[in-house]
């Protein structure tokens, strides 16, 4: 038991108690005032900063994805519009072609009709003319016949024939 009797660390000593109290209280005060407060504040600030940065990144990502969605929508819309326009154009084209065809047909018909009319007119005019001419000729022939005395019958017929041959229908 020699060493237990001298085992002084287990005996509370007033001097050491007092000094420990003083030193620890001072340490506590100084550390909390000059060290822990600024370190804690800096840590909190940094945590806040990191959180903010993360939030910002999240927001930016959200925005980008929003933008992307919008772009997509716009693109889809544009595509739709384009196809609509194309369709419209095609329709218009068809319409125009159809209209043109119709119009051409009408024109053609009109032209043909007018040509027919012209031909009819010409024919009528020609007929009138022919009638007139034939009348005139008949008159002339008659005149000539009248002017010549008709000797015999054969001469007469010959003459008539020559007259008929002289008539050139156009």
């Amino acid at each position: 038991m020699l060493f237990l009797a001298d085992f002084s660390v287990i005996r509370p000593e007033p001097g050491l108690l007092i000094w420990t109290t003083i030193i620890f209280l001072l340490f506590w005060f100084l550390m909390s005032r000059f060290a822990f407060k600024p370190i804690g504040a800096a840590l909190k600030q940094r945590e806040q900063d990191i959180q903010d940065a993360l939030d910002l990144a999240q927001k930016a990502r959200q925005e980008v994805s929003n933008l992307q969605a919008e772009n997509e929508k716009l693109l889809a819309q544009a595509r739709e519009e384009r196809s609509a326009i194309l369709k419209e154009a095609k329709e218009a084209k068809d319409e125009i072609i159809a209209e043109a065809k119709e119009r051409a047909n009408a024109e053609y018909k009109r032209k043909v009709e007018s040509a027919m009319q012209d031909i009819e007119n010409q024919k009528m005019a020609a007929l009138v003319d022919l009638k007139n001419k034939a009348g005139q000729m008949a008159i002339e022939i008659a005149e000539k016949v009248l002017q010549r005395e008709l000797g015999n019958k054969a001469d007469q017929e010959q003459f008539a024939q020559s007259l008929v041959n002289q008539i050139k229908l156009n």
Binding site: D6, P12, G15, I23, F24, P38
Partner: protein, 489 residues
Amino acid sequence: MSEKRCFPYFFLKNKFAGFFKRKSHRTFAADLKIAFLNAVMISLRKYCIALIFSGLSVYAFAQHGSDHQEPHTEATQHPTEQAPAEGAHEAEHGVSGGDMHAECPCGAHEESEVFNAGDNAVHHIADANAIHVIGDIYVHLPVMLYAPGHGWTITTTAAFKPEHHGNGAIAKDGYVLVHGSIMRIQDPSFPAGEVALQCDPSHEVVTTTDGKEKTVYKVGANNTCYHLDPKSTVDGGMMGGGITSFYDFSITRNVFTMLLTAILLFWLFLKVARSAAGNQGKAPRGLQNFIEPLYTFIRDEVAKPNIGRNYERYMPYLLSAFFFILGLNLIGQIPFFPGSANVTGNISVTIVLALITFFISTFSANRHFWEHTLWMPGVPALLKILVLTPVEILGLFLKPFTLLLRLFANITAGHIVILSFVSLIFIFGDAGKSVGGSITGILASVPLTLFMMALELLVAFLQAFIFTMLSAVYIGTAIEDPHPHGDHH
């Protein structure tokens, strides 16, 4: 429940079981806590085993020492044989100081050359007034002594002219330096001023009238043998101390180390604080990267889960306690000046720290805590009066007591084991007489000491953490919010 098994103390209390159950939803922190506490229990158990073994070996060596001592002391009883023995002793130490050792009124010098590992270890973990560096080199510290009826004596340890083994060569105002610690000559008629001592102070173990063993210190001066008083301690005689004729308020080795550690830590933290403030908005660098994780560890794993939403008020104390204990534990690991002081392994220091935790938790305790401590709702009155309330009140004081004892015992045990391993060199070497034995001792001692030192490094962190953790738990239970629960309402 696994918490119950590793925490037999809390097993007594349903309240604590509920407390742990309730907190278990914080999975990571709770798991970590349980894992750490388990590790601590295991290390404590291993410590006990190591302590028992080292204690056994120390005891065996002490026996061995006293076997050798007996013929020596017997020899001193025969005046005819005394002379050659003394001569040999002087030759060994190479002392040629005039009247020193010429003749000692207290009889032969009892401090034999036989190495006593137990004495050695106990001497090295003890507090001292002067810091022994190497050989006869000391770092002298201020001495402030107060003897009732005699007044203050303020000087430095240099005034005692310490020579080998930390023993002073002179007495000053009735005080002597014995093994680095100051003692007072009991005889009030001893002259003031400087008086040369005739021989080194000696001690012997006597059995007092009530059957207790007590160490009595003696010194010879003026051809008289004087009894010495060690400094007053406040253990009430339970630990072999008690109030004596004087009080020692000196800056001792432990106080010096505490101051040094506090200043070092303060300087370190100021640097970190400055770089943290100046580095705002930039990545942390240098020391910041070392300190800040520890800070956040204490905040996120100790304070927040155990204290709850008011944790910020208690952060400065928890951090101060953690870093103070850690710093002292680590500086105590350095085996030479300015380290080597066994500060957190001194009960006076741990008493103060545990008392502060006790005061904080007691004074911040809310109505809910006192209600549950003194008059637990939902329990029959008879049971409350006979069992629960006394146990709870006992628990109030047991908590800080275990806190102070755990830190003290762990650090002291570690130091004793290391010192015992180092002592192997001297034991095998027969206190320097056998070179071959010393070499064998070194071969055995170095790996063992290395292993222990590595373990102690872990223990330094672990004990600082445990102290902080349990402080946070005690504060947390004291300020816990009333919560709706069905288990005891």
